[in-house]
Every structure is written in structure tokens, then in C-alpha cells.
Amino acid sequence: MEDLIQFNDVHKTYDMGQAQVKALDGISIEIMQGDYLAVMGPSGSGKSTLMNLIGCLDSPTSGSYRLKGLEISTLGDDELARIRNREIGFIFQTFNLLPRTDALQNVELPLIYSGVTRRERHERAKRALEAVGLGDRMHHRPNEMSGGQRQRVAIARALVNNPSILLADEPTGNLDSRTGEEIMALIDKLHAEGNTLILVTHEDELARRAARVIRLRDGQIVSDTLNRREGAPLPTGA
């Protein structure tokens, strides 16, 4: 199977006044279609920067990033927005739902920006909400829902445009352990259904659920291991 993501010697440097901070210092990885990857590392290790680059929220200072064979590092603002819209589904620690807007409308948001008609938008958002088990909460606003329900809405929003990659950044960080377990079960299920998942976490317990774990330190990959776990599907090509 072909590589979904190819990083080749990617550097990301921030100018902080006089000093230059090397957030990423020569990262090269390949991520396959259907992979379940956990990215770990202490704060300041560059995992957020890596997420932002994979998620096309930012461009590398140097090096090459290919997504589905398309070179991303040279794209402009609007093209990056288009790729985020079609190829990336974000799941944030803080959910990042729009307040004063009900679940259905939150889920519809990516479809608005891809120009899907009103009727189809409704239909697809409804199906996505049903898929995460919130078929009966469609017209609730975020402040009328529990943390777990909010994260489900956010997952439905990430899924609704059938992206190539789901990017989850500490998805259980704001949830109690029982709800966190439910959300992780949902994420596992999404992977089992064939979605490519990238999970940023600092919890070993969560990282163990992934098929492959990358550890970062000082902007470099220090280890890239496969989890051999009973029942966990092996990443293809590994």
C-alpha cells in the first residue's frame, strides 16, 4: 500500500527575537493508509509542531511533506485551507466546538466550507452524529452536553467530510477516566473501520492502544516502535 504521509528531512524553526528555536530538527517518517500512530514526547519535544505540520495548519521551514503524493510544503494559505477541509479531521483536547451553535450545525461546519448543498449537509451531518451515538442530541448546544458528548460531536465533525487522516490531540485530556475510555473505544473503532489515525498523547496507556509509537525529543525522533498486542491489527507494510 502506498504512503499516505511522507516527511523527508523536515525542519521547523521559529524566530524568537534573537534566538532561533528549532522545533523540528530533521524529521523523516512515512505513515501508511490505515495506520494507527501515537506521537509521544515531553512538552517542548516538538510534537505539537509535528501535529500542526501534518494537519496543514503550518508549513515547514525546510524539507518536504507529501500528502497523498502532493507536495504540501510549498502551498499557499488558501490551498492549505482546502486540504484541511478535505483531508484532515481534527479532534482537539478542548473540543473546540462553536458555542451558541447546536451539534448538527457544528458538524456541518466543514461541509459549509466545501460548498456542499444545504440538504446534503444536513443529511451527512445527521449520519455522522448517529455514527458517534448522538442521534438524539442533534439540536443540543455544547453547553447543554457533557464533556464526553462534546467530544463525540467534535469527532463527528472530524469525520463528516471523509478525511484521509484523523488527528487527535490529547482527545481525553479534558475528560474523566471513564468517559475517556469511552472516547478511546470510539477512536479504536474508527481505526478498525479503516480510518488513518494519528494520536498525540503523553499517556503510555493510550499510546499502547496504537499500532505504532513515535517518541520525539528536542525536535527529533528518538524511537519508532510497533506495538504487538493481542487483537490489534498490524500496520500494513511494517
Partner: protein
């Protein structure tokens, strides 16, 4: 997409009801002031215009006038007579009829009641020339005029003030000591701005000359009727030449009379009305400017408050233009709501003010003022919304998402 943005804008403004309301207040006041003042001025000018037009567009008034300054002093006697007018009728192919007007003041008495009124001496053609007719009884005839009969036609307003019956024909009234027989009452004319057009007495021109002396016949006003309204300008030029020759004025001497046509009166009146409108427009543009700055300010606050929302929108694929359009539409909607409220407030104020000012003819809201207010307020929203919207569109998605 546009509809989405509209709903989005309304929802976002609604969630900050008080703030939105206070923000639009500047525009409400600005637009309200324009509409109110324009409607009051227009109401007035409509009445004046129709009043002037009722004189008939083929009427021209010629009056004696001593030109100001040294030239005028050198001119000697300034005269304008009925004979000048009659000569004009026979000489000009444009002029159809002429009526002289002598105006004096007279003390009138009927029984116990008395009052001072203008006494107008004129000829029977006055009725047709002014398009203003007798209602009860009859107007005086050429015979009354020639024989210098002591008869009078009184205006409707005098009737009431002197406590005369509705039909006073045949009654006697003393004017300046002389007894006159009332032969008719003019139709009511109404009043404007407290100026009563309905309080005067008409007597035959010959009678007036007899009573007030030959001297008054040398300074009459001439009411001239031009056959066709289209010829008024040409007729006016001809009258000027004719009277200059008749008055033996040298080419270096100024006119010793003044010709006023209805179009001229209308022109000078609308100049005044427009002047008022321009001044108001100037004042209001300042109010709109202030209102616009208010909108820009609140939109900047809104952009900062919603940094995270902008980050989320960008993360799920909103392009710069999407964010830009969203915030511009919000600003325009905000300004337009102010504009619409302002139009309503303005109409209300105008109507109310026109009612409260005594004798004011009423308010009239011209369509152009409404359209203009609408256009101006949306332009203000657009202009002052662009900068905050551009700021929102330029936000970096990563930093926006991290914004607390």
C-alpha cells in the same frame, strides 16, 4: 453561502443584543436626523411649491423697482402704470391679459366689529389671472371699475373676523371712512405658516385710484398672463425690452421694474430648501462617521473575542475570504439595522415634529431619502467593517486555536 453568513451574523448580533443596539445608536441617530429634517423641509417645500404652482405657470408679475445704489438714485421717478400693462398686451403676441394691483391698508368697520386689512384694487381679470374665484355673490364688473363704484369683494377670512354672516352680500362695510357695498366673497384659500392668505378686501381698480389718489396708479404691480407656459421665458425677455423702451431707459441705465416669473420663484425657493438639506447632510455625515467608528471598534472587539472561533473555522477549512466575508457581512448587517431603525425613528420624529410646530403643513418623506439612508448605512458598515474583517481573516489558525 451568503444566506449562511446572514444567519450567522444575525445570530452573533442577537447573542450580544445590548452591545449591538448601543453600537448602532450612532447610525440610528445620524439616519434618524436626516430623515426627520428632510421630511419636515420637504413637507414644507411641497406645500410652497404647489402654492406657487397654483398661481399658474404662465403668470408673470411685474413690479416697479428702484435699482439699489447710485444708478438707482439717478433714475428719477420710478413708475409702472396700468397703461404700461395694456400697451404690453396690445404689443406682445405672447401676452394675453393683464391685471393691475394696488395694495393699501384700510381700517374696516361693520357695526361694532373692526379691523385693519390689506385693500387690493384690481380689475375683473384678476380672477382668471390668479385662478382664484368668487364663491358667494359676484366679482366686480368692468362697469363697476369704470364708474368707480364703492363695491367690494371680501376674502373668506375677513368674513369670520368681522362676524359677518356666511352670505353678507348686500351688507355695507366702511373702509377708511367710505361706505362700500359687499357684492361677493372669495373662495377660502387657507393659511401657511401662520401667514393668512385669506384676509384682504378687493375693490375695483378705478375705485381705488379715486380713493387713494392718482399717485397710486403710477406704482402698480402688473399681473401678466402669458398665452403658453412654454413661451414664458421669451415673453419675459420681450416684456423687459418693451418696458425699457417705453420708460425711455438708455442702454447704460438699469431696469426700473422687476419681472418675476413662477419658475424664478420656484428656483429661488428650492435653492433655500436645498441649502437646508445640504447643511443637514453635512452634519449627518459626521454622525455617520462617528457611528461607523463605533461599528469598527465593536467589530474589533468581536474579532478578538472570537479568535478561537476563527481558529476552529480555519482548522476545518475556512479560507481567508470566508472569514473576511463573514465579518464584513456582520458589520453591514449591524449598520443596516441601525439604518432601518434610523429611518423609522426619523419618519416618526418628522411626523411628530410637523404636528407640534404650529401651522406647519406636515411631513413628507421622499423615497430618495430612504434609499440614500439605506445605501449610506450599508456603505458605512462596509467601509468600517473591512479593517476588522481583514484582521480576522489574517489570524494564524494555530495561535487562534491556542487563544484563551
Amino acid at each position: 453561502m451568503f444566506l449562511e453568513n446572514l444567519i450567522l451574523a444575525l445570530r452573533s448580533l442577537w447573542s450580544n443584543k445590548m452591545r449591538s443596539f448601543l453600537t448602532t445608536l450612532g447610525i440610528v441617530i445620524g439616519v434618524g436626523a436626516v430623515i426627520a429634517v428632510v421630511s419636515i423641509v420637504q413637507g414644507f417645500s411641497q406645500v410652497i411649491t404647489s402654492e406657487i404652482e397654483s398661481l399658474g405657470s404662465n403668470s408673470v408679475v411685474i413690479g416697479p423697482r428702484r435699482p439699489p445704489g447710485k444708478e438707482g438714485e439717478k433714475l428719477g421717478r420710478v413708475e409702472l402704470t396700468y397703461e404700461d400693462g395694456l400697451a404690453l398686451v396690445s404689443a406682445s403676441r405672447y401676452v394675453e391679459a393683464v391685471a393691475p394691483i394696488i395694495q393699501q391698508f384700510g381700517h374696516m368697520k361693520v357695526g361694532e366689529e373692526s379691523g385693519d386689512y390689506p385693500v387690493i384694487g384690481t380689475t375683473p381679470s384678476f380672477q382668471d389671472l390668479r385662478n382664484y374665484y368668487v364663491e358667494i355673490g359676484r366679482f366686480f364688473s368692468p362697469v363697476d371699475d369704470r364708474e368707480r363704484q364703492k363695491v367690494c369683494v371680501i376674502a373668506n377670512g375677513v368674513l369670520k373676523e368681522l362676524k359677518l354672516p356666511r352670505d353678507p352680500v348686500g351688507r355695507t362695510i366702511t373702509i377708511g371712512g367710505d361706505a362700500y357695498r359687499i357684492i361677493g366673497v372669495m373662495e377660502p384659500k387657507g393659511q401657511l405658516l401662520g401667514q393668512d392668505f385669506d384676509k384682504f378686501v378687493l375693490i375695483p381698480f378705478g375705485t381705488a385710484v379715486g380713493v387713494y389718489g392718482e399717485q397710486v396708479a403710477k406704482q402698480v404691480a402688473l399681473l401678466v398672463h402669458v398665452k403658453s407656459a412654454a413661451d414664458v421665458d421669451r415673453a419675459t425677455d420681450e416684456m423687459e425690452n418693451f418696458l425699457r423702451i417705453r420708460h425711455r431707459l438708455r442702454s447704460d441705465q438699469p431696469n426700473d421694474f422687476e419681472i418675476t416669473s413662477q419658475t424664478q420663484i420656484l428656483k429661488s425657493f428650492s435653492k433655500v430648501a436645498n441649502g437646508v438639506t445640504y447643511i443637514v447632510a453635512g452634519v449627518v455625515s459626521i454622525a455617520l462617521l462617528v457611528g461607523g467608528i463605533g461599528i469598527m471598534n465593536i467589530m474589533l472587539v468581536s474579532v478578538t473575542e472570537r479568535t478561537r472561533e476563527i481558529g476552529v473555522r480555519k482548522a476545518v477549512g475556512a479560507r481567508r475570504s470566508h472569514i473576511m466575508v463573514q465579518f464584513v457581512i456582520e458589520a453591514v448587517v449591524l449598520a443596516l439595522m441601525g439604518g432601518i431603525t434610523g429611518i423609522l425613528v426619523g419618519i416618526l420624529t418628522g411626523v411628530l415634529a410637523a404636528k407640534l410646530i404650529p401651522n406647519w403643513p406636515g411631513a413628507f418623506v421622499p423615497v430618495w431619502a430612504v434609499v440614500l439612508s439605506f445605501g449610506f448605512s450599508s456603505a458605512v458598515g462596509l467601509f468600517f467593517g473591512i479593517y476588522p474583517a481583514a484582521k480576522a481573516a489574517r489570524l494564524d489558525p494555530i495561535e487562534s486555536l491556542r487563544y484563551e
